[in-house]
């Protein structure tokens, strides 16, 4: 029954997509629709580069977004966003970035649209890094347009990897600079997680130690500095992860983040999923049973009529 309801829902829900064709023009746009929803995954190839991934706070840098392939339509919109969520905070300025120049060279929009896309383009934004130190990520979203009235589906694609910037993390010269890229400070984690770190240093790193609540988890002497932790072995709540890196000269770098382990929430979600599966299966069996009985009843009625 559940499955039938879901299928019926699929059919009954009328298209609520506000697909605005012919482009929307350049502007400041949140992630997602940007005034025009594009739901179909584009086959475009997107690459993203920055002139500096470890800028000082307030330092100017450029971000280049290259797009090739995808829809053949001449309208192409590219947006640079600080998160892949349809929220106002996805506009880079919300994360502290200041766009000083967009690809037009004369405006400061995060969404830039062109009308002469011919299978390859490159767009450059100039930004000023946030004034607060930390790890920041910028993403790109590409949206292909379609001529007005065309039936062609509208395509979009995200550069989901994003570019991670360690703003204001140049550190002390000579000291290994530990940048913990994941998990981030204050994040909620569950199940098995991977702790990733970049450790730029003027001298080779002799070893790096990961500790959780002060207890050593692992020790590595070469890249990648990545460790896997099964959080189910720990109680739910706040825990401290820290990485200590020592270079061959003996200089020590250190970074610490606090994460919230929440496996109970995940378990509840999984339990709901199992319940839905069980209830749906029971509903389907019942539906089949009822339909068979109804069919047999109809047969019986006709047989009785013919008998008369």
């Amino acid at each position: 029954m559940t499955a039938i309801c879901m299928l019926a829902l699929l059919v009954l829900i009328s298209p609520v997509i506000d697909a605005r064709r012919n482009g929307v023009g350049s502007g400041t746009e949140e992630y997602d629709c940007g005034g025009s929803c594009h739901e179909v995954l584009s086959s475009a190839t997107i690459t993203m580069f920055a002139s500096n991934l470890t800028p000082a706070t307030g330092q100017s840098l450029t971000v280049t977004i290259n797009v090739s392939g995808g829809s053949s339509d001449a309208i192409l919109g590219v947006m640079i966003v600080s998160s892949l969520s349809p929220v106002p905070a996805s506009i880079p300025s919300a994360a502290g970035w200041v766009i000083t120049s967009d690809p037009s060279g004369s405006a400061t929009n995060n969404y830039h649209e062109i009308t002469n896309y011919a299978s390859q383009t490159s767009m450059i934004w100039t930004l000023t890094a946030p004034s607060q130190s930390g790890i920041y990520t910028l993403y790109a979203r590409v949206m292909h347009g379609a001529p007005s009235g065309a039936s062609e589906a509208e395509y979009a694609k995200d550069y989901v990897d994003g570019l991670s910037f360690a703003v204001g993390s140049a550190g002390t010269p000579g000291i290994p600079n530990v940048i913990l890229t994941s998990p981030t400070e204050g994040s909620t984690v569950d199940g098995s997680i991977t702790v990733n770190a970049n450790i730029p240093s003027s001298q080779p790193i002799a070893y790096a130690i990961l500790r959780l609540d002060g207890v050593e988890i692992g020790n590595k002497s070469a890249v990648p500095f990545a460790w896997t932790i099964d959080t189910r072995a720990y109680a739910d709540g706040d825990h401290v992860l820290n990485i200590t890196a020592v270079d061959v000269v003996g200089y020590v770098g250190y970074k610490q983040v606090t994460v919230n382990i929440d496996n109970a929430g995940t378990n509840t979600e999984l339990l709901s999923w199992v319940w839905t599966m069980a209830a749906g299966s029971i509903a389907i069996v019942a539906w089949i049973g009822v339909m068979i009985v109804v069919a047999l009843m109809i047969r019986r009625r006709h047989t009785m009529k013919e008998g008369k």
Binding site: M1, T2, A3, I4, M6, L7, L10, V11, I13, S14, P15, V16, I17, E39, V40, L41, S43, A153, G191, S192, E269, L270, L271, S272, W273, W275, T276, M277, A278, A279, G280, S281, I282, A283, I284, V285, A286, W287, I288, G289, V290, M291, I292, V293, V294, A295, L296, M297, I298, R299, R300, H302, T303, E306
Partner: protein, 234 residues
Amino acid sequence: MVSMSALHALTAELHAGFLTLSFICIMIVAVAQIVVRLRTRMPRKFVEWAIKVRGYTEAAGYVGAVLGVLGLLLSAWTGMYAWPEDVLLKDAVVRNKILLTAFSTVMWGGVVYIRSRFGRGLWTCPAMATVYVGLTFVAFGILGTTGSMGAHLVQGGSALDPLWNFVGFRVGANLVLTANIDALIAIASAAALFIALVIGRRYDLFSVKLGAETCQRVFKWDEPKIVYEAPEKK
């Protein structure tokens, strides 16, 4: 050593192939039945073809469904070991795929049950044939949806995306219901099934074998005959 991912890909192709064959065959039989039903208004040759074709496709549809269900169970088993548990259960698309695969398996199980329980005589009863064809149609639709989800996992998109785009369905949407609604659905369904079985027993519905003699006599069911003409002896 063959990896579980490779085995899963193999079994997925296997069940998809068998069930697609079954779906096509059952739909052909349904169309053939309509042609036979309207035989007075159809060209005679056309009706003869319909009768012949349904005889072969009916059996193929049944065998395809049986092997497809076995393939589905095998796919579920290999899929469990193909990826780590974390990956399997963390991704909403994977969870939806498993959920709909379970529903599809139950439905295809229903298709096999109906055909096994009532035999090919079910086609002589329009009501039962409608249940059989309808169930096959919905089961195949759900199977197609799970295939689309698989394509999203493997290559980030699927050929059915324009359809999902049109109906406003997101393969990554959380299809899980709340515990209260689940309980309500399960209890109501169990009660409906119980009442249906009581009615079936009360009127002795399950004891009659389906066939042209016990149904509406609107469909004839002539088995196709393979005629072998032996060469004449000199």
